[in-house]
């Protein structure tokens, strides 16, 4: 095997890892935002935001890593996907702007405080929905003509399936957010989070089943790999583990455990993500652009790969360090004042 064959495979996993890190880490921060309307009053909202204030920026950076990684390793995929999904990407970026500055502005504001409460909640909700929509549109596929995506319609991504995946991701992130709050808070906020977790869990399981049932009817043949014999036998640990995970999560929440729900929610997402990655492989843009067709020059992939192999462990190291610094339950007066 030559470098031109192996490197794209390695990069598929590096970008997959970055996107997964983003979904898990920013997923719970966006989830907090989606859940802030359920708080009783503003002090609780402050508390909820403060659980993520020191770490949200690092979490969001994984999205930039995914984007820059795609440009470096699969420039054709980067160009096709982002220009085809122009408006959803725009909506996501604008929502991320309001969500992000809300962390800074809310604690500087007095009269305009409510503005940033709304910006945080709406920004998180719209970001989550748009990410789900983008995922759905990608799964449905972008058929290419002569190596180019010539669909010059601004709303080509609009479909029942992509709307549904948008809503599904909102519920998924909300589950991550709720279980994070169980882990990081106490008292009333934690109670609210517990109460929200149960319906959210049911909704997420329902959406997972719905997506799985819908996928065979999606045109991109994304799930052919899953439903051909004997692949299904090799791959069946994934759905089985997902079921076990769902049951364990349910039990942990019923028993009012504090740590397990968050960990199990992360695992839930991880399994769903693995299922998706197996389905998309070896395409980077379904239904037909493979990782080898979209790959950048081997020299480019090799050059950044060296950096990625050195830096990603370092990044994980100091990310872990910062989570350790801010471990434990959040104090009511946390902040830098």
């Amino acid at each position: 095997m030559s470098a031109a064959e192996i490197l794209p495979v390695i990069w598929y996993f590096i970008i997959g890892f970055a996107v997964m890190m983003y979904v898990l880490l920013d997923g719970f921060v966006l989830g907090i935002g989606i859940l802030t309307p359920f708080a009783d009053h503003d002090d609780q909202r402050d508390l909820m935001m403060n659980t993520a204030a020191p770490i949200w920026d690092g979490n969001e950076t994984w999205l930039v890593m995914g984007g820059a990684g795609l440009l470096a390793a699969f420039p054709k995929a980067y160009a096709i996907v982002l220009s085809a999904l122009y408006l959803p990407i725009l909506a996501m970026l604008i929502a991320l702007i309001f969500r992000g500055v809300a962390f800074e502005f809310r604690f500087k504001a007095h009269r305009s405080r409510w503005v940033w409460g709304v910006a945080f909640a709406a920004g998180s909700l719209i970001t989550a929905f748009m990410q789900g929509l983008i995922l759905g549109a990608l799964v449905e596929g972008m058929p290419l003509t002569g190596g180019k995506y010539v669909h010059a319609q601004a709303f080509a991504w609009f479909s029942p399936f992509s709307m549904m995946t948008g809503v599904a991701v909102v519920f998924g992130y909300a589950l991550l957010g709720a279980t994070w709050l169980i882990l990081k808070t106490e008292g009333r906020v934690q109670r609210i989070a517990f109460d929200l977790t149960r319906p959210l869990m049911l909704a997420v399981i329902a959406f997972m089943l719905l997506v799985s049932a819908w996928l065979p009817f999606v045109n991109s043949h994304l799930m052919d790999r899953w439903f051909t014999w004997p692949n299904f036998w090799y791959l069946c640990p994934v759905p089985i583990l997902t079921l076990i995970n769902a049951a364990a999560l349910w039990v942990a929440v019923i028993r009012n455990r504090e740590t397990e729900p968050f960990v199990l929610s992360l695992c839930f997402f991880l399994l769903g993500f693995i299922g998706l990655v197996i389905g998309i492989w070896p395409n980077i843009v379904p239904p037909s652009l493979t990782i080898w067709q979209a790959a950048s020059a081997p020299s480019s992939q090799l050059f950044v790969m060296v950096g990625a192999f050195i830096m990603i462990p370092a990044v994980l190291g100091y990310t872990a360090y910062s989570y350790r610094v801010f471990r434990g339950k959040i104090a009511a007066d946390a902040g830098y004042h």
């Binding site: 204030a53 020191p54 770490i55 920026d57 690092g58 969001e60 950076t61 999205l63 930039v64 890593m65 984007g67 820059a68 990684g69 795609l70 440009l71 470096a72 420039p75 054709k76 980067y78 160009a79 996907v81 982002l82 220009s83 122009y86 990407i89 725009l90 970026l93 604008i94 702007i97 992000g100 500055v101 800074e104 502005f105 500087k108 305009s112 669909h151 010059a152 601004a154 106490e186 008292g187 950048s296 020059a297 020299s299 480019s300 050059f303 950044v304 950096g307 990603i312 990044v315 100091y318 990310t319 360090y321 910062s322 610094v325 801010f326 434990g328 339950k329 104090a331 009511a332 830098y336």
Partner: protein, 462 residues
Amino acid sequence: MTEALLLSRLQFGFVISFHILFPAFTIGLASWLVFLEALWLRKREERVRDLYFFWMKIFSVSFGVGVVTGIVMSFQFGTNWAGFSSAAGNVVGPLLNYEVLTAFFMEATFLGVMLFGWQRVGHRTHFFATCMVALGTLISTFWIISANSWMQTPAGYELRDGVFYPVDWLAIIFNPSFPYRLAHMVLAAFLTTAFVIGGISAFYLYRGKFPEKAKICLRCALVFVSIVAPLQIIAGDFSGQEVRENQPAKLAALEGHWETGSNVPFVVFAVPNEDAQRNDYAWQIPHLGSLILTHSWGGEVKGLRDFPRDQQPPVTIPFFAFRFMVGIGVLMLLISWYGLWKLKRGTVFDSRWYLRAWMAMTPSGFIALVLGWWVAEVGRQPWVVYGVMRTAEGVSANITSGSVLGSLITYIVTYLLLFGFATWYLIKMLRTGPVPAPPRARTIPTAARPLSLGDEEMGERP
């Protein structure tokens, strides 16, 4: 199609001009915070710590806006410039990815410790976090200037079927214009911050508020600018030499030279007339152009008429932007050197008009910086990769002008809101000023839970 191109260019120009204000300010401010915290660790003076906290809050708001507008940039290449991304992704992508890997994560992660960790980590660890944030801003500058410089002076590549393939990474990263432009940009960022620090401190002194703290800041800013402003003029001169060599059309545009010749004059003022390919109302100093640009009395300088019309950059914007930028640079030099003299005589803090001059200069760095970028970027036109790939070839083929118009309006409205609110909160922080910062608790009170073993370590460390 041409509409989508024009709108995409306007959008990119708008979002990048807005974005660069914040990183430029925070590059300088992060290093200023390192300086303040180091000073505090040495002297343990309350007022220095108060200053640290004051500037840290200003840093956090500016950095926040920089982060969110920066994410927009990292997607912009794909949404609007898919042609460029497909063609140059091999080269530009890795540079941007190295920026994320070596700078963004570090900044973002240690920023959390810096902003929220005062009560949770030891002083030295906190100082380390501040240093990492500052280092991150500088590493980030390194990569982004490298990528942009490669677009100005592409090197180390070969072109096959319209796609750039890397041949020599060192030649790509350290392309011909990179060292000069990196120096010019870092100094510009430092100057920008120094004028904000000096201007705000002058404002406090003018109003008689926080005099002791404001004097520390203004003195630092003044001495700093008096050293860096001349260095910046030298760096600018080097950059000009490099542009003359590698991007002669850009140089001709920013100087307003239409005809190639030796003994070219320096055009002080003119109204460039692109249709007639000459200057109207020109007021110029003979020989000075050659002297400045070639460092010799009769050096030859290429004129715009030597380039076909479709390879000439627009002249008006680079021409005027360059003149204003240089003018601001000269003002910076004058105000700081005059201040040095006043500092020696001990009259700097009492001179009302001099304080007002500093107040007026508060935004000068931002203005010069954006003007300088306009010179660089408009002057590069009509190329996106200078001399090789046209901007028109870089735009996404499958976006509609309606989409881009919608996004442009959305960005303008969003950014104006951001700018308005950020400015408002910054003014509020300025009104509060460098008030006494909270003392460091020896232990952290957690909400209703006895301290865990780890928490007890968080007291003062030797």
